[in-house]
Amino acid sequence: MKRTPLYERHASAGARFVDFGGWEMPVRYTTTIQAEHDAVRTSAGLFDVSHMGEIDVTGENAVHALNRLVTNDLTRINDGQACYTAMCLPSGGIVDDLVIYRYSEQRLLICCNAANREKDYAWIAENLEDAVAIDRGDEFAQLALQGPKASAILQTLTEQNLADIKRYWFVDGSVCGVPTIISRTGYTGEDGFELYCPADKGGVIWDALFEAGGDALKPVGLGARDTLRLEMKYALYGNDIDETTTPLEAGLGWITKLDAGDFIGKDILVEQKESGVERRLVAFKMSGRAIARHGYDVVDAEGHVIGHVTSGTRSPTLGENIGLAYVPFGVHRVGSDIKIAVRNRIESGTIVKPPFVKPGSDV
């Protein structure tokens, strides 16, 4: 298994590790997922997300070249701004979901899912015209500093005025003397930053942040990363979205700009938009004590399978069991009851309006 440059720090902090897309990553440290989750919602948490991939795209007209591969519209964001997008197959299925940083017309940086890094790079290299893609995944360490106190902690280590960086904007700055991309983004619903720095300097920033944060900052593993993102209904690739699901089915219409120029998958998505999707990814709460997990069937009154659960957990914030599932259009409405086969019985749930938890970020 692959390890990030921070592995030794995690091990000596007592982390429990898990295989995540071929990476040996902390699932939690010495306390509980609940405690790590609460730290991010009420104070601050630091995640090592160095497993994420980075791909550079450069060229005379790199913005337009890359725009043909993604569903969002890179021509509508400014230099210095980031955007969340899907990258689709001609079928409309999702190759990956990405955050793309626009430096200029000539240069962008893609952040992609760890497990998809090689696939994404191959897909981009094959389909990109008049621009060059370079896999730079090994060059970066990436830390996610998230929570209401994230900004105050980070501000002690950088001369960059963080108040000037709005949500989904970024700057090439420096954190304790280390050249770092400071991006006001995250996967938790809280205010916070994702920091990209040279791989061998990740530990310097990691240590400095804990020194600056003191008791207000906790290391957080992938366990709480999952509960935090699920409370926001942020999709997890491989669970909620994949090559068999389209952005429209997944409720990602807001990152699918069908009025923009051509992009791979657009024809199918336009067709799907016009005729209506047959299924939708919905957020639900369980009525009972069982947790509906990835792969469990959604069934109708006669017990026929009509959909499936893609994610499920106990919400640490709400103390309720929550999840996401694909259900047929018509069943998808907020307030509808759904039935889920949990082991040997049928449990009921109710479709709710996402997010499960109100985002804390008001930047």
């Binding site: 509980t32 997922i33 997990r293 106990r314």
Partner: protein, 129 residues
């Protein structure tokens, strides 16, 4: 940490403790609760249900995962730890004490002898990880 020496252990990470006349208390080990992480639900059997050794008798759900419970030995359920319904996290906090799961009347005492001792179990866990 070494496991309590008075208990017997399974490869599925349950423990069994002989209490009095042919009765055993069953739970999951400290290693098991640590691997599962935050336990949020324990699906308990009914009093009066009978199980053979290695039968599935319940389920432990943590935030991250769901794991079946297997009977270390056969018998009839005399009592379930219903306190776990409201406080499943007790399995994390006190796996060998308040976090016990079921009490069973043992159908065959010899089945306990077939289980691992504490030192055998510790060696098994060390080899597994």
């Amino acid at each position: 940490m070494s496991s309590p020496s008075e208990l017997r252990y399974t490869k599925e990470h349950e423990w069994a403790k002989l209490v009095g006349d042919g009765e055993v208390i069953i739970g999951i080990t400290d290693h098991a609760q640590d691997a599962l992480g935050d336990v949020v639900f324990v699906e308990l059997p009914e009093v009066g249900d009978s199980f053979d050794a290695e039968d599935k008798f319940g389920v432990v759900e943590s935030v991250k995962t769901v794991s079946d419970l297997y009977a270390p030995c056969g018998g009839e359920i005399l009592e379930v730890n219903s306190a776990l319904e409201d406080a499943p996290e007790t399995v994390n906090g006190d796996p060998y004490g308040e976090g016990w799961i079921i009490r069973l009347s043992l159908s065959d005492n010899a089945q306990l002898d077939a289980l691992m001792s504490a030192s055998e179990y510790d060696a098994f866990v060390a080899a597994e990880s």
